[in-house]
C-alpha cells in the first residue's frame, strides 16, 4: 500500500494501510451514525415515529469492518443495528430517514419494512428480514455465486450473539466451511439478546465455533476499531485468496435498551450500563486523530454543524415525503412482467 499523506507508517492507521483521508472518513461515519441514531431516539420520544432501534457504541467497529471491504465488488448483509455499516458503504442519512418514517422513497423497502431492515441493490446491500439469522445462508449463497463465476467478491454478514444460536448460523457456517467460500461471518456480541444476558445465551465463546467448521474464528475488542479493521482485512484477503470463511466475534455492549419498546431496567442495572458506556471508543478515536494531527476542535465543530444540517434536512425531508400510495401497497408479490420473461 502506498502512503500518499504526510503521516508516516509509525501511526497506527498508516501501519494498517489506511490513508489519512480514509481514517478521517472513518471518524466522520462513526459520528454521523451516532448522531443519526440519537436523532432516531429523539424522534421516537417525540412521537414522530413509532419505533427506533439503536446501534450506539457499536458504530466504531461497524465502520471499521465496512472500510475493510470492497464497495464495488463485495456483498453486504447487515443486521438491524448496522447503521454505521450501511452509511459507510454508501447509504445516506436521508435514505435512513425515509426508512425511519416509512416513506415511499425509502430505497430499502419503500416504507414497507421496519427501520433497520436494510436492502439496496445499487449499494450491494442485500434485503433483510426480521427473523434473525436467515441472512447467514444467504451470504453463503452470494459467496457461492462468486466462486461459481470466478468473481473476486466477498460477502459479509452480521448478526447478534443471540442470533448465533439459531440453526441457520450452524448450517450456513458449515456449508461455507466445506466449500471454502469467500464469506465473513460477523457476530456483534453486545452482551444481550433483548433481556437475555450472554451467560444465559451460550456457555462457550462464539468465535470458538469456527473450529468445528474448519475455519478460523477470531474474537476482537469492538472498542479497538483499528484492531477490528486489521482482522477484517485479513479475513478479506483470506477470502479472496480462496482460503475460505472467517468468523469474527466483535465484543461490544448494547448501551441502549433493545429498542424503543424495551425497558432494560427490568433486567439489568444502570451501573452496569454506565460502566460500559464509559468504554465508548468514539471519543477515543477522536483523541487518536488529534494525537496524530489529523483532527482539531475546529474540525469537530465543522463536522458537527454539517451533520446537524444534514440530519435536519433529512428529517424534514423524511417527515414530509409521501407514503407509498395504497394502490401500490400490494404490488410486487410477483414479478409484474412474468410473462415477458418466459423464454430468454
Amino acid at each position: 500500500m502506498t502512503q500518499t499523506n504526510s503521516v508516516t507508517n509509525d501511526t497506527r492507521h498508516a501501519a494498517l494501510g489506511l490513508t489519512d483521508e480514509r481514517v478521517v472518513q472513518m471518524y466522520e461515519k462513526m459520528m454521523l451514525a451516532r448522531r443519526f441514531d440519537e436523532r432516531g431516539q429523539l424522534l421516537q420520544r417525540a412521537g414522530k415515529v413509532n419505533f427506533h432501534i439503536s446501534g450506539i457504541t457499536q458504530e466504531p467497529s461497524q465502520v471499521a469492518m465496512a472500510f475493510a471491504m470492497d464497495k464495488e465488488k463485495d456483498w453486504f448483509l447487515p443486521y438491524y443495528r448496522d447503521y454505521a455499516f450501511v452509511l459507510s458503504v454508501g447509504m445516506t442519512v436521508k435514505e435512513l430517514m425515509l426508512s425511519l418514517f416509512a416513506k415511499a422513497e425509502d430505497p430499502n423497502s419503500a416504507g414497507r419494512q421496519m427501520p433497520g431492515h436494510f436492502g439496496c441493490k445499487r449499494l450491494r446491500i442485500v434485503t433483510g428480514s426480521s427473523p434473525v439469522t436467515t441472512q447467514v445462508p444467504h451470504a453463503v449463497g452470494f459467496a457461492l455465486t462468486a466462486k461459481m463465476r470466478g468473481e473476486s467478491s466477498v460477502s459479509i454478514v452480521s448478526f447478534g450473539e443471540g442470533s448465533s444460536n439459531q440453526g441457520d448460523f450452524h448450517e450456513g457456517c458449515n456449508f461455507a466451511g466445506v466449500m471454502k467460500l469467500p464469506v465473513i461471518f460477523v457476530c456483534q456480541n453486545n452482551g444481550y439478546a433483548i433481556s437475555i444476558p450472554f451467560s444465559k445465551q451460550s456457555a462457550g465463546k462464539i468465535s470458538d465455533r469456527a473450529l468445528g467448521y474448519g475455519f478460523p474464528g477470531i474474537r476482537v475488542d469492538g472498542n479497538d476499531p483499528f484492531e477490528v479493521y486489521r482482522v477484517f482485512r485479513e479475513a478479506h484477503e483470506r477470502a479472496l485468496a480462496g482460503e475460505g470463511p472467517t468468523l469474527i466475534e466483535i465484543m461490544t455492549y448494547r448501551v441502549t435498551p433493545h429498542s424503543t419498546s424495551d425497558n432494560d431496567m427490568a433486567y439489568r442495572t444502570k451501573e452496569e450500563v454506565d460502566a460500559h458506556r464509559a468504554k465508548d471508543s468514539l471519543p477515543a478515536f477522536r483523541s487518536y486523530l488529534e494525537s496524530v494531527g489529523l483532527w482539531s476542535e475546529e474540525k469537530e465543530q465543522e463536522l458537527q454543524a454539517n451533520i446537524r444540517k444534514e440530519l435536519d434536512e433529512a428529517t424534514e425531508y423524511g417527515e414530509r415525503a409521501p407514503y407509498q400510495a395504497v394502490e401500490d401497497a400490494f404490488r410486487y408479490v410477483y414479478a409484474e412482467d412474468a410473462e415477458a420473461g418466459e423464454v430468454r
Partner: protein, 328 residues
C-alpha cells in the same frame, strides 16, 4: 365477575395452572425477568423461579424441540414463541414431531404441549411482526389449534390447552391484549377445545370467524341492527382445529347467508375449509354464495400507516360486506 384484559387472562391462566400443577412450566425468549416482550409472563419467574419460567437461548426449533422432549418425559410445557412470525424455524419440530408422536408410537408416547404465539397486525409491526400463520399449521392432523377472541375464552381455552393430552397451538391476538377486556370468573373454569360459540344471535346473515375480526363484526352488527334492521348471527369458532362442524353448519343454516372472516390471507385460509364444509353439507340451504372477507393475498402488511390500514380488516369493511350480503 371482574372485567379483565385479554393479556391478563392469559397470564392468570398460566399462573393458576402453575400453582395447581407442578408439571406446568413456561419457556421462551425473554419470558423471565422481562416477562415477555408483551408482558404476558410477567411475575412468573419471580413466583416460580428460573427453572419454571425459563429464559431460553434465541432458537425456536430448540424451544419447541426441548418442550416436546419435556412433554414426552411427563411435563406440561408452555412454550412461548415471541411472535408467531418467528415460529417458522420450529415448523419441523411442530409438524414432524409434536403432531405425530402419539400416532407414530401407536399411543405409547404422548406430547401434551402448548405453544403460545401472538398473531395479527395493527401495531405497526410490518411484515414480520404482524402475520397470521394459522394456515401453515391448519390441516396438520395431530395438532389442535385455538384462537380466542375474548378474555374469558383466552383463560378458559388456555387451561384446556394445558390440560389437553395432545399438542395445542394457542394463537393469541396481540391487538386484543389490551384492547379487549371482558368478564372473567375468578378461579378455575375451562372452555372446551373444539366447540364454537354463538357471540350474537341473528336471523339475516351469519358471520363466522375467529380472533380479532369478530370484534369488528360485533360492532358492525350493532350498527347494522340499529341503522338497517339487519340482524347478524355471529359465530366464534374459538378452536380452528378440530373445527366444530356441527356448530358451523347450525350457524350457517340459521340464516342461509354466510360471510367468513379472518385476518389471515384469503387463499388457503381456515375460511376455505369452513366454506368447503358448508358447501359439502348445506348446499341447498344457502340463499347466497359463501363469501369470505380476509386479508389480501400478499406476503404481509406494510409498516406504513396507510398501507397497514389498507391491509387490515376493520369495522367499516365488515359492515359493508355484511350489509352487501344481507341485501343479496
Amino acid at each position: 365477575m371482574p372485567v379483565m384484559e385479554y393479556i391478563e387472562a392469559i397470564r392468570t391462566a398460566m399462573k393458576e395452572e402453575m400453582e395447581r400443577d407442578s408439571r406446568v412450566f413456561v419457556m421462551g425468549e425473554d419470558v423471565g425477568l422481562k416477562g415477555g416482550v408483551f408482558g404476558t409472563t410477567k411475575g412468573l419467574q419471580q413466583q416460580f423461579g428460573e427453572l419454571r419460567s425459563i429464559d431460553t437461548p434465541l432458537a425456536e426449533s430448540a424451544i419447541a424441540g426441548v418442550a416436546i422432549g419435556a412433554a414426552m418425559a411427563g411435563m406440561r410445557p408452555i412454550a412461548e414463541m415471541q411472535y408467531s412470525d418467528f415460529m417458522f424455524p420450529a415448523t419441523n419440530q411442530i409438524i414432524s414431531e409434536a403432531a405425530k408422536i402419539r400416532y407414530r408410537s401407536n399411543n405409547d408416547f404422548d406430547c401434551p404441549l402448548v405453544i403460545r404465539a401472538p398473531i395479527g397486525g395493527g401495531i405497526f409491526g410490518g411484515l414480520y411482526h404482524s402475520q397470521c400463520p394459522e394456515s401453515v399449521f391448519f390441516g396438520t392432523p395431530g395438532l389442535k389449534i385455538v384462537a380466542p377472541a375474548t378474555a374469558y375464552d383466552a383463560k378458559g381455552l388456555l387451561l384446556s390447552a394445558i390440560r389437553d393430552p395432545d399438542p395445542v397451538l394457542f394463537f393469541e391476538n396481540k391487538k386484543c391484549y389490551r384492547l379487549i377486556a371482558d368478564n372473567v370468573p375468578e378461579g378455575e373454569y375451562t372452555v372446551p377445545i373444539g366447540k364454537s360459540n354463538v357471540m350474537r344471535e341473528g336471523t339475516d346473515i351469519t358471520v363466522i370467524g375467529y380472533s380479532m375480526p369478530l370484534h369488528f363484526a360485533m360492532q358492525a352488527a350493532e350498527e347494522l341492527s340499529r341503522e338497517e334492521g339487519v340482524e347478524a348471527h355471529i359465530l366464534d369458532l374459538r378452536t380452528i382445529q378440530p373445527l366444530d362442524r356441527e356448530g358451523i353448519l347450525e350457524a350457517a343454516a340459521r340464516t342461509g347467508k354466510v360471510l367468513i372472516v379472518h385476518e389471515d390471507n384469503k387463499t388457503g385460509g381456515v375460511g376455505a375449509e369452513v366454506a368447503a364444509m358448508i358447501s359439502e353439507e348445506l348446499l341447498y340451504d344457502l340463499d347466497a354464495p359463501i363469501r369470505r372477507l380476509c386479508a389480501p393475498d400478499v406476503p404481509a402488511m406494510p409498516i406504513n400507516p396507510p398501507g397497514e390500514k389498507h391491509y387490515l380488516l376493520n369495522k367499516d369493511k365488515l359492515k359493508a360486506a355484511m350489509l352487501d350480503l344481507a341485501k343479496f
